[in-house]
Every structure is written in C-alpha cells, then in structure tokens.
C-alpha cells in the first residue's frame, strides 16, 4: 500500500506547512519538501532560505521569465519576494549553523523513534549525497521529515533504530507520511493526526517501536 493509500505528496507537504508560524525562516529540501511553498497558509509570512544563499525566494519563475542566475537548492529557477537578500555560501550556512532557521523540511529513507534520520547514503553505497542536509539537520530549530511510510518491499521507514548511515541524531521534531503525522518519542512514535482512510491498527502494523495515539485523534484536513 505504499503511496497509494492516505495522503498524496502535496497533502503531506501541506500538512507540514501548516506547522509554520508567522515570521519563520524555513529551508525546504529537494523533492516533496519543496511543495510546502505551494501551501496556502493564510496570512502567514514565511521567509524561505536556500543553501546557496537566497533569503526570501518566492514561487518558481514563469516560463520565459527565468533568471538563469537565480535558483533554489533544487536548481529550480525561482523568483524573489520583496525584501529578499542574497549572501555567499559561508554566510548562508552561517544562517543555518547559527540556529537562525526555524524549520527545515527534508525527505528521508528512515526515521528512528529517537529522532535520528537517514537520507544521504544507501546500504552498501560508497560515498553519498550529503549537500546541506547534515548542516540543516544538526542546526535548524525544528526538523520536519516527509517520507513514504514503508519501503517498496513493505518494511517500515519509521524504525526503532536506523540501519542506514544517519544524517543526524535525535533531531527530528515531526514526521509526515502518507499515513499520518508522527512525533518521535524515546520508545516509539506518537500519532498526532491520521490520514483519511487509514486505521490506527493498519499504521501500528507498519511502524517501528511502540505506537502511541493522541487523545481524540484528529484526521488530517485535506484539500484538493
């Protein structure tokens, strides 16, 4: 049932984006996390930062209106919001490492119940793709992870301990999967909200550690 049941990609991004508070500085990883910037979160004023030093980027540029020297961390030609600023790479990671990022949203292969996560290296791979992930993971005030709940062969990506090389330890604030919204606790995952069409038992069967469930468990609000 990987990806076919529960939330779609944009809905996962939407749910995470609704955590953002007015005035936050947010860094979005490549892939699904990027879709958080599509979410309508009312009058909330978010400053999006990308690793290459763009503070305050906006929507993807319309075709024919791209500035080829202006990209986000995913290499997309983006626009700038009024009040944007550009800094060099050391200053950009000064923003990150200095704790000035309120939230980062990243994809992952695995998240552990102790808040570790893995997203840079597959099993048996020599080397990997770290990019800015380790800096963001270690230093952002909140680390939100969006990932598929289970692997292609059906095993959980929400695990008691990562068996892939981790990106950082004990940092994950919140996890969104197709099935729900979870907080890593020391002993398992706490289901804060459930996706439409899923049951707690279905989720428990594919979640590492103990699954605890929020009182009066709410369903994730879905639009579209």
């Amino acid at each position: 049932m990987s990806g076919t049941k529960g939330l779609n990609r944009q809905q996962m991004a939407d749910r995470v984006a609704r955590e953002f508070q007015d005035g936050w500085i947010v860094n979005l990883g490549v892939g699904i996390p990027t879709m958080c910037s599509n979410t309508d979160i009312g009058g909330t004023d978010i400053t999006y930062h990308s690793e290459n030093g763009v503070i305050g980027y906006g929507a993807v540029a319309a075709e024919g209106h791209e500035d080829l020297n202006l990209v986000n961390a995913g290499g997309q030609n983006v626009t700038l919001k009024p009040g944007a600023a550009v800094v060099h790479h050391a200053d950009s990671f000064g923003v990150i490492r200095g704790g000035h990022i309120d939230a980062t949203v990243m994809g992952a292969y695995q998240v552990s119940m102790t808040g570790d996560f893995a997203n840079w290296k597959l099993k048996g791979q020599k080397g990997g793709g770290i990019g800015g992930a380790m800096d963001l993971a270690a230093c952002a005030k909140r680390v939100f992870i969006i990932l598929e709940h289970v692997t292609r062969d059906g095993s959980s990506r929400l695990v008691t301990a990562c068996d892939l090389p981790v990106t950082a330890r004990g940092v994950v604030t919140l996890v969104a999967t197709h099935y729900g919204l979870f907080e890593p606790t020391k002993t398992g995952f706490h289901l804060r909200e459930i996706a439409p069409g899923l049951t707690v038992d279905e989720i428990r069967a594919v979640t590492g550690g103990t699954l605890t469930v929020a009182d009066g468990l709410k369903q994730i609000a879905v639009s579209g």
Binding site: S50, E51, L68, G74, I130, G131, A133
Partner: protein
C-alpha cells in the same frame, strides 16, 4: 591598486601555468556561478593529478556543460572534495560515481556548510574550527570531537587552495567583483582561500571606480586574473535551452 595587469585575453592564457598536482576550487551551485569556460580551458590545458573542490562533480543533465566530472573523465584528477559523490536521488547515477567506485579517483565527502566554512576559514586565517554538523554520523567516526557548553562538536580544518575558478557578473580593472543573485554562492569564499583566483566575467570589464565601494562583493585584492566571456558560441553561457534541458539536483 594594480590596474589592467589582471586582464587576460583568453581562458587558455589564464590557465596556462597551472601545474600538475594543483588544488583547484570551482565556484558554482547548479549552473549559477560555474566557471564553464575556465573548466573547458583546463581540459584543453591538460594539467594532471589535480585535487578539485566543488559542491558537486556535475549532474546528469543533457546537454552537459563542462564540470568536474569531465575533468575526471579526461584523466586529469586524483581527488575530489565535494558535498555529493552521488546524486540526491538514488536512482540517478552521476558520471563521476563509477570512477570513485572503481577507486580510480579518490573523494572526500564533506557536508556543504562545512565545505563552505573550511574555505572561508582558509581565507580568513583560521586553521581549524568546531562545528555541530556531522556529529554522530559516519563522517565523524574516529575523528576528534569536543564538548563545549554541553554539546558535542567536530573539529574541522581549513581548506586552502592553489587556484579558484569562479564566475561573476561584473568586474572592474582592479578585480573587484559583483555577482548576480545566486551566482554568488561559493565565489567570494573560494577567492579568499586561493593563492590565485581566476574569474570569468559575464559583462564587459569596467574601469576602477565604476563599482561603488559599498557594493563590491569580492575585493580585487583576492582576484588575480580576469577573462571576459565572449559571446556564444565562443563563450559558454547557460542559455535558456540548456537550462530547460536539464533537471539539476543538488
């Protein structure tokens, strides 16, 4: 400030004296700031056993623009230091990866912020510093850490380079640079870390004094050689066609 002597008439001339065994840093994050023309000139120049530093070794996009991976394929590279030896998406295979997997070329994988800070440190006379990044990961195994105010940090060393190849929008004759938007990325810090900085410049080079001193991004004291990028097809530009034809994944 030394005038005019920094101008070079060709990319070939600007890279002619680079010896085998040099350490070279390349600016660029995705297309912006990548010194395509200088990389091409270095391929033609042929220096070998190079250590190359950049954010990536180049992606899988087509048509391909000059990148570190091409210098690897050209047999010029002993080692790369970068934030990606593999693509972000496991399904994507970088041209570089097979050279690394086979052991033909060595690699040092460095978190992007640590890479940036190591370059900045080299330029700023800081031989080593502590960072929280990569603590508790495979990259920290066997390495020195230190607890400061109750948190564990990893010791990292400065990364000085012999040459920096960078690309900027504007330069004056003394080598002051301005970058356009995210073209800036690694350019300013690599320039400070290098013994010799070579910059390819988009726009015609202007007289000293044309850039307001408050608006200089990189002081000319860090820039030693300037080459004006000629119009296409002689000069390589990231054209819209090329930009559209690719999916850049950093």
């Amino acid at each position: 400030m030394t005038q005019n002597s920094k101008l070079r008439s060709s990319f070939a001339d600007a890279v002619a004296d680079i010896p085998d065994g040099s350490t070279i840093a390349f600016g660029g994050f995705a297309m912006p700031g990548t010194p395509f023309n200088l990389i091409k000139a270095l391929m033609e120049q042929g220096a070998k056993r190079l250590t190359l530093i950049g954010n990536t070794t180049g992606g899988t996009q087509q048509p391909r623009m000059p990148d570190i991976g091409m210098l690897v394929e050209n047999g010029q590279v002993a080692k790369v230091i970068c934030a990606f030896t593999a693509a972000t998406r496991p399904t994507e295979v970088l041209p570089f990866t097979k050279y690394y997997d086979s052991g033909e070329v060595d690699a040092e994988l460095v978190p992007q912020g640590t890479l940036a800070e190591r370059l900045r440190a080299a330029g700023a006379g800081i031989p080593a510093f502590y960072t929280p990044t990569a603590v508790g990961t495979e990259l920290a195994e066997g390495r020195e850490t230190r607890v400061i105010n109750g948190r564990e940090y990893l010791l990292e060393y400065a990364l000085p380079v012999d040459y920096a190849f960078i690309r900027a929008r504007t330069a004056d004759t003394v080598g002051n640079l301005r970058f356009h938007r995210s073209q800036r990325n690694f350019g300013p810090i690599m320039a400070t870390a290098a013994r010799v900085t070579i910059a390819e410049i988009d726009d015609p080079i202007v007289a000293a004094g044309s850039i307001d001193p408050d608006d200089v991004h990189t002081s000319g004291i860090y820039v030693h050689r300037l080459v004006q990028v000629p119009p296409e097809p002689e000069g390589l530009w990231p054209t819209k066609r090329q930009a559209r034809g690719q999916e850049i994944k950093q």
